[in-house]
Point group: none
DNA sequence: GTGGTCTAGACCACT
DNA sequence: GTGGTCTAGACCACA
């Protein structure tokens, strides 16, 4: 499914969250698809089930999946999600920090603006 | 000098690093300027001196400042700062993911574009 | 008959219990009416028969239905239903807490009042 | 601080969440007050630290507290919270279920309406 | 089988 | 000291 980087500073459960979000955003996992069960993914990644569960719960908080106890965890329909202002604010904060870092790295305002516009024109994998 | 946001998920020492880098990049602190001593800044921000210490060490590692024992900590020449092309790529990838998530959250292309431009303007005078 | 919401945090068997209670209270199912058999309802809702079984057992425990082996499950007389003053008090306490939280979340008294009235109207024809 | 009911169907961490919310909503814990540390509360309630942490994290998700690693967990300022539409929806769903249950318990529409109005007139403990 | 909770105990980074 | 993560392994309710 994907690989973990145990050496990374990013915690395991966060890496799992990021990877699964990536799969959903890229369309590899579609709406209503079932995610691997906690125990399955636990074995696949050789990671403790509690850690997987923590990742799944975080994905649920962020609105990417929903859970039916006894059945499994599934990808949410985008239409079910109300525009989650709180989450939008969090993501914008992420971008704010990234832009700051680009400035630190020595990129000019113009160059950053160019790069962002390129990203905006891309229309990746969204159904 | 600047404000810390205790509620932020970003650790305090990292916020200090970021803020001082910004002050340097913005020209508020010039090459060879002396930074406040660890104890001074510790009092100014009401933060544990160890935390300031850690921030200064990180700034030194990144080439933004240098320390002379017994004299203090000073802003390095710009040529000493590390530039990291690889890091630029990673940060761009972060932003790409965030933009995808904004689309996923239901924001229109136009709205995303607006929000990004707001972010860019926020410190537009810096470049 | 009715719809289940798999995404709800409420377990499936509980949703079935609630829905059937509503049908009884609304008079759609009258005293001595026969409920669908476990197998029938299982097919109608595409739900595991064990889950239906559990819902029927709970309804029986609460005095809403009774079961005759070999014949089926039937709606009880209203007098058989348990009334629980203590429970009423607990539920009111839950609502009190929720209203406090709405205030805490920044909603005005007027807005809360509006929202409550909407809720009350939702199934106003039932009493 | 408060008592747990180990016999309750409600899980321990949820009881902790509910109790602390109650203390905050009632004004016993004020804005910027420090909650007991994870380890302290763990000892006070003779409950595993992980369980306390789970409760604190849930409180954070719901916007009641914020956390500074290395410092502690603190009550959020109401003004810092944007009106959290998602959370409002969740609370309204709680009330919806409670009203349904009151109907199940045999209360008439009019009686429920009366009771709700009484609750609305109360202005408890909010700063 | 599924997810959910809990304990015991370890290790880490930050203050 | 603080919170945060992770493992190992147990037990429960629900489908």
């Amino acid at each position: 499914m994907f690989q973990l980087d145990l050496k990374s500073r990013t915690s395991i459960y966060e890496q799992i969250v990021d990877n699964i979000k990536e799969l959903i955003l890229a369309g590899v996992l579609s709406v209503e698809d079932k995610l691997p069960s906690v125990r399955e993914l636990s074995k696949m990644l050789t990671v403790n089930p509690n850690t997987i569960q923590k990742a799944y719960r975080e994905l649920e908080y962020q609105g990417f999946v929903y859970t039916v106890a006894g059945l499994g965890t599934f990808v949410s329909a985008a239409s079910d999600r109300k525009v989650d202002e709180k989450r939008v604010g969090e993501v914008m904060e992420d971008i704010r920090r990234s832009i700051r870092e680009l400035r630190f790295l020595g990129l000019s305002q113009e160059r950053i603006s160019e790069l962002l516009n390129e990203l905006l024109e891309e229309r990746g994998g969204l159904a």
